[in-house]
């Protein structure tokens, strides 16, 4: 655990002393100004819970990707050989990303409270916080799989593919219509949804996106079932499975790290 903490502080110092680190912080504050501060009449509970949670879930993914790719350099050789397990390195990357994203999220959420239309009740906080935490964890675990550090063979392509299917399907089921170029591909989900032959694929996608769709419901002011209340825990479980999958991929990977 001590090695993980030391690596977290190392990775964060390395990131925050760079231009990329500064851009991450500026990005977080810019998000507040654009998405929260500039909303006329303040933000309601749904907006507060979903937009901040969703945005920082994505930030967690991007930040994990950034830290993992900054670690995919020969500077890491001299630390990696001292570790008893490569899993320690991945754990440090994920926790560094979650920690930094979490701090940014707390700052933005605290600022957003001043723009919230109505008070933040304990019940509301208890609904929103588990969803936010689980989205941070899920974003970080996915971030590992789309990084070069963990990639083995076609694993990254598969990760991007699953991510695309989940985002596209979520958008479809939430009633959002893809615009522009994407309109040309509307026949694909329609074909899958309408065809008996592809019913299994449709069901599979339903299973894949259920925890996220349920978590969205929990974070909103709508009633939710007991099963749906478990969705943040399911998301955390998915994040853990993805993390151990990343450990398995990285643990058996030949490390030939670029020198630049």
């Amino acid at each position: 655990m001590r090695q993980v903490w030391i690596l977290i502080t190392y990775l964060l110092r390395e990131l925050l002393r760079s231009l990329t680190g500064a851009l991450v912080i500026v990005g977080g504050l810019a998000f507040y100004l654009v998405a929260i501060h500039s909303v006329t009449g303040g933000v309601d509970r749904d907006y507060f819970g979903l937009v901040i949670g969703g945005f920082f879930g994505v930030v967690s993914l991007v930040l994990t990707l950034i830290i993992a790719d900054r670690s995919y350099r020969s500077t890491s050789y001299l630390l990696l050989y001292r570790l008893s397990s490569r899993a320690i390195f991945l754990a440090a990357i994920v926790l560094a990303a979650v920690l930094l994203t979490g701090v940014l999220e707390i700052i933005v959420a605290a600022l957003a409270l001043t723009r919230l239309s109505g008070p933040l009740t304990a019940e509301m906080a208890l609904d929103i916080l588990p969803v936010w935490i689980s989205l941070l964890a899920l974003g970080a675990a996915l971030g590992l799989h789309v990084s070069e550090l963990v990639r083995r063979g076609w694993s990254r392509t598969v990760a991007y593919g699953v991510l695309a299917v989940v985002l596209f399907s979520l958008n479809q089921r939430q009633g959002g219509a893809p615009a522009g170029f994407a309109d040309k591909f509307n026949w694909i989900p329609s074909l899958i949804a309408d065809s008996e032959r592809w019913k299994w694929a449709n069901d599979l996608v339903d299973v894949l996106i259920w925890p996220i769709a349920a978590a969205v419901k929990v974070a909103r002011a709508t009633p939710y079932s007991l099963l749906e209340s478990l969705s943040p825990a399911v998301l955390l479980l998915v994040a853990m499975v993805l993390f151990w999958l990343a450990v398995a991929l990285f643990g058996g990977k030949d490390l030939i790290l670029p020198e630049s």
Partner: protein
């Protein structure tokens, strides 16, 4: 200390190491030699654990897996860190803390001559300093096994001498050092054992003194060698080589039996013999014979 058995490593269609077996004794300074692409760096990375073998195994005896220090060929560091700050972090990752950490960092800085630069930013360090910083981090945890990939690269002659001195001192203290290098002079001065790799295979290995000892040659210096005599000399044995300028005749080890006949020929031809000297083969001779037979 290290036992390597039937080790094979491939990168796609390229075979970097093929059926390599060797043993590195404890307390030795083991030099890995070979042309570029012969598999030296791959072998070190396999021992450290960055790469996984396709076949064969590497046994690190006496539980040294967590007590090794490694210096890659071109060590890279986070440029925005300070020299001491980086060493402290590396030491902490290596499970040092408190007083022992501070003492190890100070000792590593002093041993590598970086004491004066401890507060410099790494971005301000020269190539030679970075090489010494790489060695400093390798020494931090007082490892029993040091794996050094081209440790003399980028060092000036004084720093190279200091590096040799330091490695010899570590060997006297019972540490095992495995280094890969192209600097044959440093190997001759420093190493107790060598292994020459060629195209991923072990071409020659053993104690340096044994590799060099049985190899000797004779040089006969003459005033001037006529073409006809030079041609006749070549007919004695393929190991007899007159120099192009006609002032020396080299007899390889397997041609030494022809020496009396050659001297008689030279005397009969009334050629002045200036000197007859027996010279031990250098490591360079052995190396060139091995990798370019």
């Amino acid at each position: 200390m290290i036992r390597i058995t039937d080790l094979t490593k491939r990168y796609g269609d390229v075979t970097a190491l093929q059926g390599l077996s060797l043993t590195v004794p404890a307390g030795s300074i083991y030099g890995l030699l070979g042309p570029n692409g012969s598999g030296k760096t791959t072998l070190l990375r396999l021992i450290v654990g960055y790469l996984f073998p396709d076949q064969g195994c590497i046994e690190l005896l006496d539980g040294v897996r967590h007590q090794l220090g490694f210096l890659p060929e071109r060590p890279r560091f986070p440029r925005r860190f300070g020299v001491r700050e980086y060493l402290v972090t590396a030491g902490q990752v290596g499970s040092l803390s408190g007083g022992p950490l501070a003492r190890s960092v100070d000792a590593a800085l002093e041993r590598t001559g970086l004491g004066q630069m401890a507060d410099w930013r790494i971005a301000a360090c020269s190539k030679g300093m970075l090489q010494r910083l790489g060695l400093a981090q390798a020494l931090l945890t007082r490892p029993n096994l040091l794996l050094l990939d081209e440790p003399f690269g980028g060092l000036d002659p004084a720093a190279r001498a200091a590096m040799r001195h330091l490695l010899a001192e570590l060997s006297r203290a019972g540490k095992t050092v495995v280094l890969s290098t192209h600097q044959l002079g440093d190997v001759t001065q420093l190493c107790t054992h060598i292994a020459i790799l060629s195209e991923g295979r072990l071409a020659r290995s053993g104690l340096l003194s044994e590799v060099l000892a049985p190899r000797s040659r004779v040089v006969i210096e003459v005033d001037r060698l006529p073409e006809l005599i030079a041609w006749q000399l070549r007919q004695f044995h393929p190991g007899v080589t007159p120099s192009p300028d006609g002032t020396e005749i080299h007899l390889a080890e397997d041609a030494l039996s022809a020496k009396p006949a050659i001297l008689r020929l030279l005397l009969d031809a009334r050629i002045d013999i200036l000197r007859v000297a027996e010279e031990s083969a250098t490591l360079e001779d052995v190396y060139l014979e091995t990798v370019h037979p």
